[in-house]
């Protein structure tokens, strides 16, 4: 059977905004991926879920301002458990310089800000997983 990309998708921390994460989850599903939606979860729970689900990708949605604290923590926990093969993507509302910092200093594979076309996100995830 063909290999489906498994994505564990969460709203980071207590972030209440759901429209973006639903939209992205729907589109990833429609592009043939398996999205395991967690709802609101914290880094420890997200990483635990990624282990149990044998995820290729973790997707984090953050519009609530905790992107710089909780985002890097997910990457750190993965590293601690030797799970660097799981790629972390983020999206939501944040300053572009925060997004750059997450990508360049904190090991987030890619951050997608509002109004990113869905196909860009789908292709970004596909190509990153294919390289891994």
């Amino acid at each position: 059977m063909e290999r489906k990309i498994r994505v564990v998708m969460a709203k980071l921390g207590l972030d209440i905004h759901w429209r973006g994460v639903y939209l992205v989850s729907q589109f990833l599903k429609d592009s043939g991926m398996e999205v395991i939606y967690l709802g609101n979860k914290f880094p420890e729970q997200i990483v635990e879920a990624a282990v149990e689900e044998d995820a290729d990708v973790i997707g984090l949605s953050s519009l609530g301002g905790s992107h710089l604290t909780l985002g890097p923590k997910v990457v750190r926990l993965l590293k601690e458990r030797g799970l660097d093969h799981i790629k972390v993507f983020m999206g939501g509302v944040m300053a572009p310089k925060d997004a750059r910092s997450l990508e360049e200093e904190h090991g987030i594979a890619k951050v997608y800000l509002p109004d990113t076309p869905m196909q860009v996100i789908i292709d970004g995830i596909r190509s990153t997983v294919a390289l891994a």
Binding site: S31, E34, D54
Partner: protein, 329 residues
Amino acid sequence: MKKIDDIIASALTGDKACTSRLISLVERDDEQAPYIMRQLYPFSGKAYYIGITGAPGAGKSTTVDKLVKMFCKNGKNVGVIAVDPSSPFSGGALLGDRVRVNIKKTEYNYFFRSMSSGNIMGGLSRTTKEAARILDACGKDIIIIETVGVGQSELDVAKATDTVVVILTPESGDGVQIMKAGLIEVADIFVVNKCDRPGAENIAHALKGMLDRIDYRLSWKPPIIKTSASLNKGVDTLYEGLGEHRRYLNCDKKIKQRRQRQIREELKRNIETEFIKTILSDIYNGNDFGKALDNVCEHRIDPQNAARQIVTAWLSKDMQPSEKWAKGV
């Protein structure tokens, strides 16, 4: 990349990531899948399997979340497999059962896995039972399987579990609908969930009326348990009900008979599949097939008789174990 034997060894000693990987390999029908199951199956069969089924949104996952907590509190090691539907168009899936799970990992030891149903219509996915057996082999005491939200005829869960819990709600319709549902025949325990809503009494009453008309003297009479899972009400009664059914099964080795019936069906299904796969590929790759094809094309013999000849010839052939069989894969 770790070798498969190392992954299996680690999984058997409780390593989560390795257990998880084995489930993936089996789920996607990797070429190592038969080897994995051959290694792990002998370690399975010790866990108690609970199936949770019911209409979409009936409260299955919410109930599972509460049950897991209770089992864990009582020192059990729990594995959960939750199946959600796949998109028939893209083959992708949005698996949402985990949203209801809110258990602190630091307190409890359990393993939760989401699976997509694929194109299987029975309420489980093709490899749900294998995944459950992997968890069983890797040391889980209790396995809970949550089906896809089902209608009236998705009954595969009854072939894979020791106790089937059917969850109804005040929205489940009237007595006729309950009666139509084949689910009634497979239920070991009925739960009427969302009892905080109006109409719960009615559905419990209609259900009781139907069960009272069935003669249960020689068998288990399914209890009707009222719950409000999201308010954590009544789930303790369900927990006790599960214990009672388990005790019932353990008396007079009924559990052994139940499993034997299930495995018998499973083995037969597998033999059919293997038979068709193996024998046909042997025949289609053999010389007889080419010759017969020629003969039929040239109108020397009709297709039906040609087929008979081939099968007869194949059956009388000396049974040299072919390469494939000798490898035992």
